[in-house]
């Protein structure tokens, strides 16, 4: 309970600080760099969630513990949410900075591919009716998808750099200004806290649903 309140306060502080405390970063037009306090943590959480989901799937495939699958599913759903947010905030930033919502620069390409992987994961979850089979298939798919990620990391920058050299400006690190860094790290912490909180809620819901289903069968 306390954690929830603290997290809410912390998030509010970060939001205010990102506008009032930290200065706008140089090299970016006007106030646009402020969105990065939110965009980068979202993208980071989206990727982290995918990693967690993959590892939980691997645990499920090895040990067949249903709780591992609950974690995999919840992490994937939340990861998808943050991925959509990251895509939207990234597009807004792109429009403000480079004048177009979408340029297919390395970052944008990577986030879209992650979005596609999440989409495919949910597609396979909804296409299989038998619960055990669903978990195994979804788990196998998330592992396969994860395996292709190193290729993407290696391949995408080489391709998009040569295609669109002017768009390789990478807004990943918004300056080393100490105030900015503080707010950025604070935001990262806040988003991680938010993610963990939502994850635990989701797993609890799934667990209760699972128990309820079992109960119905026993009746």
């Amino acid at each position: 309970m306390i954690c929830k309140i603290l997290l809410t306060i912390w998030m509010a502080v970060i939001i205010v600080a990102s506008f009032l405390y930290a200065g706008a970063a140089a090299g970016f037009p006007g106030e646009t760099s402020r969105i990065l306090f939110f965009h980068v943590p979202q993208a980071w959480i989206a990727t982290l969630a995918f990693l967690i989901s993959m590892i939980a799937s691997a645990v499920y495939l090895a040990k067949r513990r249903v709780k591992a699958d609950y974690l995999a599913q919840s992490a994937a759903e939340l990861g998808f949410l943050f991925c959509v947010l990251a895509t939207i905030t990234g597009s807004v930033f792109a429009k403000a900075t480079w004048g177009a919502f979408w340029n297919w620069d390395p970052r944008q390409t990577s986030i879209v591919i992650l979005l596609m992987i999440y989409g495919a994961y949910f597609a396979i979850r909804s296409a299989v009716s038998d619960p055990d089979r669903r978990r195994v298939f979804a788990g196998v798919y998330s592992i396969l998808a994860f395996v292709t990620v190193p290729f993407l990391v290696f391949v995408v920058p080489r391709i998009t750099t040569s295609l669109h050299p002017e768009n390789t400006m990478n807004p990943a690190s918004p300056g080393m200004d100490p105030k900015t860094l503080k707010v950025f790290l604070g935001s990262l912490f806040a988003y991680t806290g938010l993610f963990v909180w939502m994850l635990r809620l989701k797993i609890r819901v799934l667990r209760i649903e699972g128990l309820r289903n079992l109960g119905i069968e026993e009746l």
């Binding site: 591919i113 395996v147 391949v155």
Partner: protein
Amino acid sequence: MHQTKNGRWGTQARSSTYLNEAVAIWLRDLRSEFRTRYALNAILMFAVTTLIAVSFSIGSFRIEEAERPFLFSVLLWIILTFSALSGLARSFVKEEEAGTIDVLKLSARPQAVFLGKLFFNLTLLGALELIIVPSFILLMSYQINSPGFFIAIIISGGLGLGAGTTIIAAMIARASTRGALFSALSLPLLLPLMITCIKGCERAAIGMNNADWPEVKVAVAYFIIMITMSLLLFPLIWEE
């Protein structure tokens, strides 16, 4: 039944390797395909139709010469990938529809099944590339300045396409919405391969004077990794 050395009864020993059994499955699939031609027809129909549409609407000269190496490469790989996606699931889906999956599960080891189906898919892809790639080059007047490299990319790309899709085909054969699901699941996995191959073909068309073939190495690495992961994960899918 026979009596083994220590006097116990034993069943007939397994006298073959995964490879032998995989080849048996591959040859059987080939024989069935030869007699019915379902998968090959589906793939070729798609490819030829798309190729004709592309050639008719774009033609050899509408695109400026500087852009041709890249754009033609993109078109070629779009045709190859989507044709593959229209037909590569057939080997598993046909078994599922005919009801022969159970008897295959009872007789064959999972890894042998995977390898056999992989070989079959690679054969289909080989036939597709053999027919479509030269046709494309002719119809579009695609100028290739480094033919050796180009052929290497086509071959390694085809290998990668097969490796990335065979296990997905096994998964969707048991699901409800097969066709669309196969494409939706395969494309995210195939993207790195496609991007690499498009780039490689572009460079082959422009021509390179060095012997550096990074794209081929990436495609082959993709092939090896996907096969390894699939061999590990396929038994889990097969036994569900």
